[in-house]
Symmetry: C2
Subunit: 234 residues, 2 copies
DNA sequence: TCGTGCAATATTGTCAGACAATCTGATGTT
DNA sequence: AACATCAGATTGTCTGACAATATTGCACGA
């Protein structure tokens, strides 16, 4: 589409070519332009993006490290598709880490500076339904969970969780976001925040766990065709 | 050292060059050949290893993704050094994930097949001191923790934890392994395994947590010069 | 008709050489 | 001493090339 315009853009700054490809392919995957299972041919991409193979390969391999692509020797890169099992495993891990974050964050909230920042970061969840459904909610959800991790002060945890979230984005989650789901999720966010501000770490952790377990439940009800078949297709 | 011999070796198989570099640099870091903070000059490495810049850069960037190197734009790769704070954060995360593993694994041990494999995987911890001190223990420790994750059946968890362990290996931990530490660790392993085989998930998790917290304690007593100073040196 | 083996094509993995952008350190000027 | 300038070092990227491997289409025989 707007590729022709983008081609020139990355030329301006040196060292940005790889990043440019990274973003292009990642966005292409999330927006469904590159479908799961599709092969990404190096020659095509170099032509489309107006770059050479070196930076392109580097970008593809980094995306493979993030589990967005799968690279088969001598066959190149294909867009990865998660099996339902892998998605459930990712959720287990995410639950464990977000519970850790909520515990550490609740303790840190005793400090006024951290508390003030957390309150301003989570302002949005207290405002009544002023937001557009669907697309807007995803950003709000992300910023709430990010605020907790930020308050925990554990930077490494932030890096790890952000990497875990990426593959989950590959399912177009917004399709699942009914008004009911959004309302329930928002209520749970509020419960979590209240428990945290009360200093009740155990309660906050419980709320977080059930919040994520419900999200997992919703995710597991997605049509089975969005998942990769479990049988090792290698 | 034996580089000259290795140079030819990777030529045999196509598609193994990047892997070859990966292993070389990783081992060089763990064995102290490449010291933390040291710059890795592309020209030097291509000459030493007899490869071209393409695969080399790919390998360096992958190691950067694993947090073993840091890549500064237009300055290249330097061997990363963790701050004490980052090490503690890594331990927090590892504790959360290994507790998750122990819970899931204990549940799975009800199945005879899983149970049998777990028992054979952890055979070593029941045998009295037939092992060499130091070096041998690290492998034994790793295989015990791996056995738990394997029994949990959560493959994604295995991938994530193995990536988390890598940076920790950068400290030469073996220097810290006194006979007393090894004995204590072994006893804790046995306690964990017993609780798991008894089906007592809560107890197993408690044992695992205190086991790792003690390890963290030992690690935090390492001489401060092995850590990077916390001030952002950028 | 259906599989099987083989040649032609497509694609990747790697190499070599080149160039400009950028960083580093030393030199000279004020 | 502070600052500007310059040469060398190093990286980021490009181009073109070649062999190794995978894929495809097709002729051939059972």
């Amino acid at each position: 589409m707007s590729d022709a315009g983008d081609v020139a853009e990355h030329k301006r700054m040196r060292g940005a070519t790889v990043d440019y490809v990274l973003r292009h392919v990642r966005d292409g995957i999330f927006q469904g332009q590159y479908a799961p299972g599709q092969r990404l041919i190096e020659a095509d991409l170099t032509r489309e993006l107006g770059i050479s193979r070196g930076p392109l390969r580097e970008a593809l391999h980094r995306l493979a490290a993030d589990k967005l692509l799968e690279i088969v020797p001598n066959r190149g890169a294909i867009v990865r598709r998660l099996s339902m099992r892998e998605m459930l495993e990712l959720f287990s891990i995410r639950i464990a880490l977000e519970c850790l974050a909520v515990r550490e964050a609740t303790a840190k909230l005793a400090a006024p500076v951290i508390r003030a920042r957390f309150e301003s970061d989570t302002e949005a969840i207290w405002m009544p339904e002023q937001r557009a459904p669907g697309r807007g909610y995803i950003a709000e959800n992300k910023s709430f969970h990010d605020a907790i991790i930020r308050a925990s002060g554990n930077e490494t945890l932030g890096i790890v969780t952000s990497q875990l979230q990426l593959p989950l984005l590959m399912f177009q989650f917004n399709k699942m976001l009914t008004a009911g789901n959004i309302a329930a999720s928002l209520a749970e966010h509020r419960a979590i925040a209240e428990a945290m501000l009360d200093g009740d770490a155990a309660d906050a952790e419980t709320c977080m766990r059930s919040h994520l377990e419900r999200a997992r439940q919703v995710a597991s009800e997605m049509p089975s065709q969005v998942f990769r078949s479990e049988a090792r297709a290698r």
